[in-house]
């Protein structure tokens, strides 16, 4: 197990080097180059020359890349043009918000997707099966931000059941030791603050969770329908095994492997979707900040955030791969 983890972590290195080269080249390919992007309308040849010398942009490209890499290794991802704060700080203060949102979205997707897919497969052709098909079609055809609009309009603006924007009500006084607002409320025993933060997560969580819900439901349905016709399930049934054990140990457990893989792959989709969902709900996570940085041509933020998001994505898939061993003992032996 440990060997596998180390092996996979080592494989991350070439990926990161490749990505840093691409992102380094990307900034230089921006229209007018990085200096133009930084100065915008304040562009004058003198100011440009000064910044070029300051940033070392007048040096040869390999030297520039080497310095960029060195700064990255020291945790220096540059400075945001919008806020003037280090990109890493901006990322770290906002990342907990996005993690909270993603977790809620995943709970929604898995909590509904797996049971829905399971029942749909066990009762093929039933009402549940048809509704699973409808749900999975909605998930792949409706744009995330349109869904977010509609949820916001219906349940926040019209019905007023949920707050329209933000992570916590403006009137709520709360301390934030970890920046995970729900967790903060629980840690400091400010129950109403925790509840308030949780309520703010519901609508964006549902909007963000719908695509993975569709995919998880579909994958579960496919996996369960294949497994339930397997010979060992028939044998187990013929042996007179209890139906509950048959469902749990024989069908569900064996069907979970592809589903877990799918869930891991959804994280990239969730991080993409977070950019749109957070913007609709003015939810201050990494997604909405990234969207702002696109609007404001804040290229150091885009550069740094994309690199860090790729790392997060790779790490999540590593965790998923490692967790195969926990689900499937056959793979544990191979590992």
């Amino acid at each position: 197990m440990l060997r596998l983890i180390v092996q996979r972590l080592l494989l991350l290195i070439p990926l990161l080097v490749g990505l840093s080269i691409l992102l380094f080249g990307w900034v230089r390919a921006l229209p007018g180059g990085p200096v133009q992007a930084m100065l915008g309308e304040r562009y004058t040849p003198e100011a440009a020359a000064e910044i070029e010398a300051q940033l070392g942009l007048d040096q040869p490209l390999p030297v520039q890349y080497g310095k960029y890499l060195l700064r990255l290794l020291q945790g220096d991802f540059g400075t945001s043009l919008q806020s003037g704060r280090p990109v890493l700080d901006e990322f770290l203060t906002r990342f907990p918000a996005t993690i909270e949102l993603t977790v809620v979205a995943l709970i929604f997707a898995i909590g509904i997707g797996i049971p829905l897919g399971y029942v749909a497969a066990r009762r093929a052709g039933s009402v549940v099966d048809h509704s699973a098909v409808v749900v999975s079609l909605i998930g792949v055809t409706v744009p995330v931000f349109f869904l977010a609009f509609i949820l916001k309009y219906l349940f926040a603006v019209e019905l007023g059941w949920f707050p329209t924007t933000g992570r916590q009500s403006a009137t709520m006084v709360a301390t934030h030791p970890t920046n995970f607002y729900v967790l903060d409320g629980l840690l400091t025993a400010e129950w109403d603050a925790a509840w308030d933060a949780l309520v703010h997560l519901i609508l964006p969580g549902i909007a963000l969770g719908t695509i993975p819900l569709a995919i998880v439901a579909r994958m579960t349905r496919a996996a369960v329908s294949e497994v339930q016709n397997a010979d060992y399930v028939r044998t187990a049934r013929a042996k007179g095994i209890k139906p509950a054990r048959l469902r749990g140990d024989h069908i569900l457990k064996n069907a979970m492997l592809p589903v877990v893989t799918t869930i891991g792959l959804q994280v990239g989709l969730l991080l993409s979707g977070a950019v749109l969902t957070e913007t609709v709900f003015a939810f201050s996570g990494i997604g909405s900040f990234l969207a702002d940085s696109v609007f404001n041509a804040d290229y150091p933020v885009m550069q740094g955030f994309i690199l860090m998001i790729a790392v997060v994505y790779a790490l999540v898939n590593l965790i998923v791969d490692v967790s195969y061993g926990l689900i499937d003992p056959r793979l544990r032996r191979q590992q």
Binding site: T141, I150, A291, A297, Y313
Partner: protein
């Protein structure tokens, strides 16, 4: 497998001819010798899901192509400019069946022109992705070894960034234009097509008929071009159909993020949806109508793609 005897594009034409020889009727004919595409076409014709998908796609393409005839007003015209007040956006009327938007554009006309814009973005970006992916996939599949390794690492790299972020960063380089959106969405598709094509070419390479062709003394080029490639395109065509759906959705997402350039009143579904965000409480139809257009179009392409996948899947053949 007799698929390699049939030119790929003849699939649709071959089926009716085939049935006229054998006579029609379910199960009545011996279809043993027909090609993959003829068989797929026969399955699709009987599948109501596929038919509804085809109908949606056909309507969408017709509306897009006939936009100059169908739309009451031009795509950039703002016929109701004087009727719109900051506090009041006129709803449906005899002159404007779906009402006006806040710029004074006729919503019906803009939706029709929007279909054209979506079709253009969808087709061009998918073509871009397909061409790029084919080139990379062929390169990898042809040379193998170190070229294959290099190409696949590049593909891995592109897939390590979530697709929307990749598209956003490409669009940022390509500048503010609708061409930039097409290129951005196209680039995102490249690694998907490359990996798919390489995978299915590798699978085909191990087949007996390839061995037989090589044994007959065919050159590597003719084996690849006339045997391996035609037999590997099935999954690629399925993916291209699904890509059309994704492209329509991604284009909307990019304009939501302020990319794509042009006037905010441009007749484009994503742009209309984005502009409607401010009027959600006053005139929800401005958001709902383009939203539905995007979803239904994506649905059409998805249904066609999915049923095509099912029809081409050899595992489904025996269960019939």
């Amino acid at each position: 497998m007799s698929a390699n005897e049939l030119p790929v594009t003849d699939g649709a034409a071959a089926a009716p001819l085939h049935t006229s020889i054998h006579g029609d009727g379910p199960g009545g004919a011996d279809h043993g010798g027909e090609g993959v595409w003829a068989r797929a076409w026969r399955t699709l014709r009987k599948n109501p899901v596929a038919i509804s998908g085809f109908v949606i796609v056909a309507v969408f393409v017709l509306v897009a192509v006939l936009a100059p005839v169908l739309a009451p007003y031009g795509g950039t015209e703002l016929p109701g400019r004087d009727e719109v007040r900051p506090t009041m956006i006129p709803g449906p009327s005899a002159e404007f069946p779906l009402g006006l938007d806040r710029y004074g554009g006729d919503v019906l006309s803009k939706l029709i022109w929007g279909a054209q814009a979506s079709l253009l973005v969808g087709v061009l970006s998918t073509l871009f992705g397909l061409t790029g992916g084919l080139l990379l996939g062929l390169l990898a599949g042809w040379f193998g070894k170190s070229v294959d390794f290099a190409v696949m690492r590049l593909v891995d790299l592109m897939l390590s960034v979530p697709s929307l972020l990749l598209a956003v960063s490409i669009a940022a380089i390509a500048g503010q234009s609708s061409m930039a959106v097409i290129v951005a969405i196209g680039v995102v598709q490249v690694p998907i097509f490359a990996r798919l094509l390489r995978g299915s070419m590798l699978a085909q390479k191990g087949q007996d008929y390839v061995l037989a062709a090589s044994a007959l003394g065919l050159t590597r080029r003719s084996v690849t071009m006339s045997h391996v490639l035609p037999n590997s395109v099935g999954p690629v065509i399925v993916q291209a159909t699904l890509s059309l759906a994704t492209a329509v959705i991604e284009a909307a997402a990019l304009s939501f993020l302020g990319l794509g350039g042009g006037e905010p009143s441009t007749a484009e579904w994503g742009r209309m949806l984005t502009a409607a965000q401010q009027e959600l409480a006053v005139a929800p139809r401005l958001a709902i109508l383009p939203g539905i257009c995007i979803a239904v179009t994506a649905l059409g392409f998805t249904l066609v793609g999915e049923s095509l996948r099912e029809a081409l899947d050899p595992r489904n053949r025996t269960r019939r």
